[in-house]
Amino acid sequence: MKYFLQRVAFYLFTAWAAITLNFFIPRMVPGDPVQALITKFQGQLSSKAIESLYVLFGLDKDKSVWQEYLDYWNQLFHGDLGLSFTFFPTPVSEIISSSLPWTLTLVGITTVISFFLGTGLGVLAGWRRGSWADGLLPVTTFLSSVPYFWLGIIAIYLLTGPDSFFPSSGGFGSGLVPAWDQYFIPSAIQHSLLPALTILISSVSGWILSMRNMMVTVSSEDYITVAHAKGLSDRRVALSYAARNALLPNVSGFALSLGFIVGGTLLVEIVFSYPGVGFQLFQALGAQDYPLMQGIFLIITISVLVANLIADVAYLLLDPRTRKEG
C-alpha cells in the first residue's frame, strides 16, 4: 500500500510538472500568432473566451506570472482549455472528448494484444534458443526500426484499393452516424483493422526482443536449475519459474514503451485520417491552432500517466517483494 501511494504521489507530481510545462511553453514564444487569430475572430469571440485565451497564452501583460498561473489552474479545474480556432467556436475540451475515445480504444486494444503476443513469442525465443523462434530476431529488429507511419503508408499502398476489404482512411463508413448500433460498430471495427495492424506489427517486436533477452538472462538463475532438479515438467519450469520472473522487468519497462507507442499511434492516425487525437493534433498543427495543441498534449500526457499507474498496479500484484511486509 505504501508503495502504491508513493507511485500515486509521483504521478501527481509528474502531472503537475507537465501542466506547468504546458503553462510555460506558450510563454516562451512571442504571442503574435494567437493574438493574430484573436484579432481575426474578434467579432465572434465572447469576452469570456478572450479572457480564457489570454490566461492560456499569457497575453495579458498587466498580470504577474503568478497570478496567471493561478488563473490557469482555476481554468483547468473547470475543464476550460480554451476555444479551438480550427473548429471555431467549439471548445477544445469538446473536440478532445469526441476524439479521445477513438484513440484510447485503438491504442488500448492494440497495446494489450501487442504486449501479450510479443511477450509470448519472446518467451518461446528465449527458452528454445537455437530453434525456429530465433529466426524471428532479424525480422523483429528490422520491423522495430521502421517508423510506424511509414508502415501505415505501405499498408495502405499494398492492402487498400477500390476492391479491398480494408478502407484506407477514416474511422467509419461515410453516411454513418456514431452510435452503438449494428451499422456503425462493424464499420468502425473494419476501419480500425489496418491502423491497429500497423501499430501491432511495429510495437510487437520490441516486446519480443526484450522478453527474449530477459528469458535468456533469467534462465541462468539458480532457481531455474533448482526447478529442473526438482523434476518439474519443462513447461512448468518455463512458465511458472522463468517467464514469471522475466515478465517483471517487461512490465516495468512499460512506461518507456508506452510513450513511444502513443507517439507512433498519433502518426498512424494521421496516415489513416483516423478520427482520434493524433489526427486532431495534425490538423491543429496545420492551422496553428495552439489551444487545441496544448489541450491535446495535456490530455495525452495525463492518459499516459494513468496507464503507467495501471502498469504499476500490475507490477505490484506480480512482484511480492514490492508488497508490504506481512
Partner: protein
C-alpha cells in the same frame, strides 16, 4: 553404514563447449557413494567438483556436455540403471525422488515470486499426482517442522526469510520425497560460521534418522573432516585422492590434499601452522602436461611433468591416490 553402493560414477567426462574450444572440466572420474554415508568432495574453485555433481544429474547449463561415462544408480528395490541413459520423462521422475540437491547460494535457489508453500508442494504435484491438496500441504508443513521452521512461514515469500531459514527450507524441500541421495553443493558458504555448523549438524542428525546418503561438496576441507565419512579431493577435473575422513586428516598422501588442509584452521584437534598452496588453480583451457598439480607441487620430481599419475591404491588399505610419490600397487576399479 554398509558398503553397498547406491551411486556409482564410472569414467565420467564433462566438457564445456564443442570442438576445438572445448574445455575438459571433469576427466575420467570414478567415484562410488555407499548407502548411508557422507562422501565429501573437496577442491579449489574450478577443480570440477560442482561440474561433477551437476553433470551426473544432467543439470549443467549449455555449453556443458557429457562426453562419456556412466552413472549407475541402485534403487532401494529393483535393478540398477544408468542415469545418463534415461529418457527425459524418466529423468524427470528420477530427479528429486531419488537424488535431491541442496544448492549453493540459498539466496537464489528459491523463486522470488512464489510462496514457500507453492515451491514445496509443486514437487509433490509433479511426483505424487495422486496426493490430495490437503495431504500435500500437510507434508510440506511436516518438512518445515523437520528442519525447525514454524509452519506459519509456509505462506511467506523467500525475501521475507533470513539466509539461514532459506537454506533450511531448501533442505526440507530436498527431503520431501525421501530421496536416497542428497547432493549438497557448498550448502552453507553464504552463511556465518555458527549457522553453518548448526545447519550441518541438523542435516547429519536427519541423515541418521532417515538413512539417506550425502555427497557434500565444499572447498572447506575442515568442514568435511568434521562431517563426512569419506573424502575425495579433486584437482584439475580429476580425483587425486580418496580416503576415509580421518585418514585424509591425519596423513593425506597427495601434496595437494596436504596443501588444502594447510589452508584452513581446524576448529578441533591440535593447532597447526597455516601454509596455503602457492600459485593459482590451473586454467582448464591450458592444463599442464603430466600431473596437473606439478607446477605448484613442492615435491614434484622427474615423472610428474610428463606422465599423468593414476588414481590407485598405494597399499592394502581402502584408500587411493593419484601421485607419483605413491606408486601404483593395485588399480582402482
Amino acid at each position: 553404514m554398509s558398503s553397498t553402493p547406491v551411486l556409482e560414477i564410472r569414467n565420467l567426462n564433462v566438457e564445456y563447449g564443442l570442438g576445438d574450444q572445448a574445455v575438459r572440466a571433469v576427466r575420467d572420474v570414478n567415484l562410488t557413494l555407499h548407502r548411508g554415508e557422507v562422501l565429501g568432495l573437496a577442491g579449489e574453485s574450478g577443480s570440477g567438483k560442482s561440474t561433477l555433481a551437476y553433470g551426473m544429474t544432467r543439470l549443467l547449463a549449455p555449453p556443458g556436455v557429457i562426453t562419456g561415462g556412466e552413472v549407475i544408480y541402485h534403487p532401494e528395490k529393483g535393478e540398477a540403471y544408468d542415469v545418463l541413459g534415461l529418457s527425459d520423462r524418466h529423468l524427470q521422475a528420477f530427479r528429486w525422488a531419488e537424488t535431491a540437491i541442496v544448492f549453493q547460494g540459498a539466496m537464489n535457489s528459491l523463486n522470488p515470486v512464489h510462496k514457500i508453500s507453492t515451491q514445496l508442494t509443486d514437487v509433490l504435484r509433479a511426483h505424487r499426482p495422486e496426493m490430495s491438496e490437503a495431504a500435500r500441504n500437510a507434508r510440506a508443513r511436516e518438512m518445515l517442522k523437520l528442519v525447525g521452521i514454524a509452519a506459519d512461514r509456509m505462506e511467506a515469500y523467500p525475501h521475507q526469510l533470513s539466509g539461514g531459514m532459506r537454506q533450511r527450507v531448501m533442505i526440507g524441500m530436498a527431503l520431501i520425497l525421501q530421496p536416497q541421495v542428497v547432493i549438497m553443493d557448498e550448502p552453507t558458504t553464504a552463511l556465518d560460521v555458527v549457522m553453518q555448523r548448526q545447519i550441518l549438524g541438523q542435516l547429519i542428525e536427519l541423515r541418521e534418522r532417515l538413512g539417506f546418503s550425502v555427497i557434500f561438496i565444499t572447498h572447506d576441507l575442515s568442514l568435511l573432516v568434521e562431517f563426512s565419512n569419506r573424502i575425495a579431493i579433486m584437482y584439475g577435473g580429476r580425483i587425486v585422492e580418496e580416503a576415509a575422513a580421518a585418514a585424509i586428516y591425519k596423513d593425506s598422501l597427495h601434496p595437494y590434499s596436504q596443501g588444502l588442509l594447510g589452508s584452513f584452521p581446524s576448529l578441533r584437534g591440535p593447532r597447526r601452522e597455516l601454509t596455503g598452496i602457492p600459485g593459482t588453480p590451473p586454467d582448464l583451457k591450458g592444463m599442464p602436461s603430466g600431473c596437473s598439480f606439478h607446477p605448484r607441487c613442492p615435491k614434484a620430481f622427474e615423472p610428474c611433468s610428463t606422465n599423468i599419475p593414476v588414481l590407485a591404491r598405494p597399499d592394502d588399505s581402502p584408500r587411493s591416490v593419484a601421485c607419483w610419490l605413491h606408486p601404483v600397487k593395485e588399480p582402482v576399479g
